[in-house]
Symmetry: C2
């Protein structure tokens, strides 16, 4: 089979992945919508705000009454009342009148500006000296200043952020229609793999990939569904993959690193209904023996057995797959997973394939340094030490010490921003 | 009160926040440990791996038997068997013998290296031609190559990443001891605030801050606990804050933007048991009217009412507070929330305070550009448009067009890494 099927370049693989899409939509409470993806355009149902609001503590007046006022020639106003928070004021402000108002208070009729309390001086209970000229609408937010009724607030496909949820609340949207979260079935294969609560016998290893891939799914906004361990047995694997496709949007196999396990994966995929083999091998290192196919519209993935290779393939290609399955079209978050650093030493690379090198980041003065981590293929410790990956392009023979490189960061957990 | 209490510089505020710590530890299943923080050092309970494993498909041999072998003078070996995956091989490999082995297979006794299948040529069922010299231990991982029994694998205070969970699985740790997730009580205050499923009357606004701050908590790894709306009433607010401190690790108040609400917040804090006022005003914009205190060891926070100001304070200071309450000491994730960009225009700033300017990011050729977003204070739309914040330091009068700036990114949702 392999000989008939050409190893694909990474760009081709990404294009192939772009054919996949979300499996449906659902309504969820606003509280749970962080990171979820809108399946419909969001149109402003009303003006926001919908009344004239003060942005300062001070006095609401007719602005023209302050024209010419200054510290040396203050203007005098009659204090005719106070705006209470959360209520529509009933008074009307006429020329020469001032009404006390707090930040967020509703402007009374007649008033068209607010003088900050710093420029106001009460001479007695009702007499106010104003020592500054304000323009009409100064310190005031108008109706629809944020959004007008009918405005497109969010496009379809937007992944909702912290403040986006605040805006949804402002519009009174307690339920949000979003794409379903992709459900990803994970199967660990290989005769040598045992469950993590078992003591491995000589020749056996614990199921590292299940936990790594499940955590990866959670991190990129998908829901992992673990189906269990499967030995290298055609019938058993076939049953498990069929069950997986009935319960999840996609199935990801990994675990066994032997060539036998890999061959078996492909054999099982090939008898799935409406199966099409899309990728059999990618010209990257690590991660070459990756299989991508589809059964109907459902992607089926065979990952390399080594956890380091599987995680590189996940970072580079399955992040994109999960984005597509999530319905995300808005890549505003794109730069967040890459930062620039300076390479600490030369890195050689074979041309004709894309190399992903694990790097550790540290600060040297003002410069962020990326230090390549080398080690035997198949070691987990190199992944533990690494902060991210750098890519060596297919047509270069390596990277040089001091060169600026883009680091694809592992896990984006918020830290300290100073 | 304000006059007795000096507005604090941001650096002082961060130092004050550093006094807080986690509230305890708990055991959780490994599946749920992504992003959680280890409360104990992790020591390798055994060697990983704990047997000699092949990293390639090929033949296990005594390396010395290949010395001098090349394409023109291949060495001949007798194929005496095959290593089955997941089993300890029973054969012993003596001089001149070769045993078929797959990636991940256990090396048989006597063998000390693996020849890749590419350099092996079967002449008949039992006769193998090897066309390459290998060194001892070539294509083999030794016991403890990843970690040796007793090694410190993770320090206390590490926030667990995707691959860290994989390693825990490799060591058979199905339960992990971590610090408790900080529980943050959120109270929205202010007479003008109504629940989001209500139609606001003129002068009222919906509770935007509750949803914004809850989402913020989730994003930075804390658990929000929403206690409800509170009008500007001393007794009611006091009851609610006391209830909050009984049920959560810290309480965050926000919502009302009037000076009355702010004064009330401080009055309630001051009668809490063992209360100490730590910060009353920070020299930043927006976000100056922030209150930080503690009741015993529990932080109590009064945030500005404007959602934009509250979110800036959260990003700059409460990310650090949540880190401390989470027990995180390892800021390896620090660079992830900042990226470098080029400023698209001049930004003026008053000296004597730190300014946080919202920016939008876009790509111009190879350069990432940060475009400042200006707008009336109190508008939500500026936050919706923004990708992050830039800081203008206290002692500068502004930033210049073309200058490189560090952008503190909002929400770190993984996107596309190409």
């Amino acid at each position: 089979m392999e000989s008939f099927f050409k190893v694909k370049r990474p760009e081709e693989v990404l294009e192939i992945i772009d054919q996949f899409g979300p499996s449906g939509e659902e309504q969820i409470p606003l509280e749970q919508a962080l990171g979820r993806v809108l399946s419909k355009e969001m149109i402003a149902p009303e003006n926001l705000p919908d009344f004239f609001r003060s942005t300062m503590d001070g006095y609401a007046v007719q602005a023209k009454g302050t024209f010419g006022a200054s510290e040396s020639i203050p203007a005098l106003f009659y204090v005719s009342g106070e705006v209470l928070m959360g209520q529509a004021p009933e008074m009307v402000v006429s020329e020469g009148q001032a009404v006390k108002i707090s930040t967020g208070g509703m402007l009374p009729e007649g008033a068209d500006g607010v003088v900050m309390v710093e420029y106001c001086h009460l001479l007695d209970e009702n007499t106010l000296e104003i020592s500054r000229t304000i323009s009409p609408l100064e310190n005031v937010i108008q109706p629809a200043d944020d959004f007008g009724q009918g405005d497109v607030v969010f496009k379809k496909g937007r992944a909702l952020r912290t403040q986006d949820l605040g805006l949804m609340a402002g519009f009174g949207q307690s339920e949000i229609t979003v794409y379903k979260k992709p459900k990803i079935a994970i199967i660990s294969t290989g005769d040598e793999i045992v469950a993590i609560d078992e003591q491995p016998l000589p020749g056996q290893v614990r199921d590292i990939n299940r936990y790594t891939l499940s955590a990866f799914c959670r991190r990129v906004g998908a829901e992992p569904l673990y189906l269990g361990l499967c030995p290298d047995d055609f019938e058993k694997l076939k049953d498990m993959v069929e069950k997986a496709l009935a319960r999840a949007d996609t199935v990801w196999l990994s675990g066994g690193s032997s060539v036998g396990t890999r061959d078996l994966t492909l054999k099982v995929f090939e008898i799935l209904p409406d199966f099409e083999l899309l990728v059999h091998g990618i010209s990257i290192s690590p991660g070459k023996p990756t299989i991508i196919g589809k059964s109907g519209s459902q992607p089926v993935i065979g990952l390399p057995g080594h956890v380091a290779s599987a995680l590189v393939v996940a970072e580079v290609f399955l992040t994109r797959l999960v984005s597509r399955l999530s319905g995300r079209v808005d890549f505003h978050s794109r730069p967040q997973t890459r930062i620039e650093a300076e390479l600490s030493r030369n890195v050689e690379s074979a041309s004709g394939r894309e190399d992903y090198i694990r790097v550790k980041l540290f600060q040297r003065g003002d410069t962020l340094i990326a230090e390549p981590i080398f080690g035997k293929s198949g070691l987990l410790s190199t992944l533990i030490e690494a902060d991210g990956l750098i890519r060596v392009d297919m047509n270069t023979e390596g990277l040089y010490q001091g060169q600026k490189v883009k680091v694809i960061l592992f896990d984006a957990i918020n830290g300290d921003i100073r």
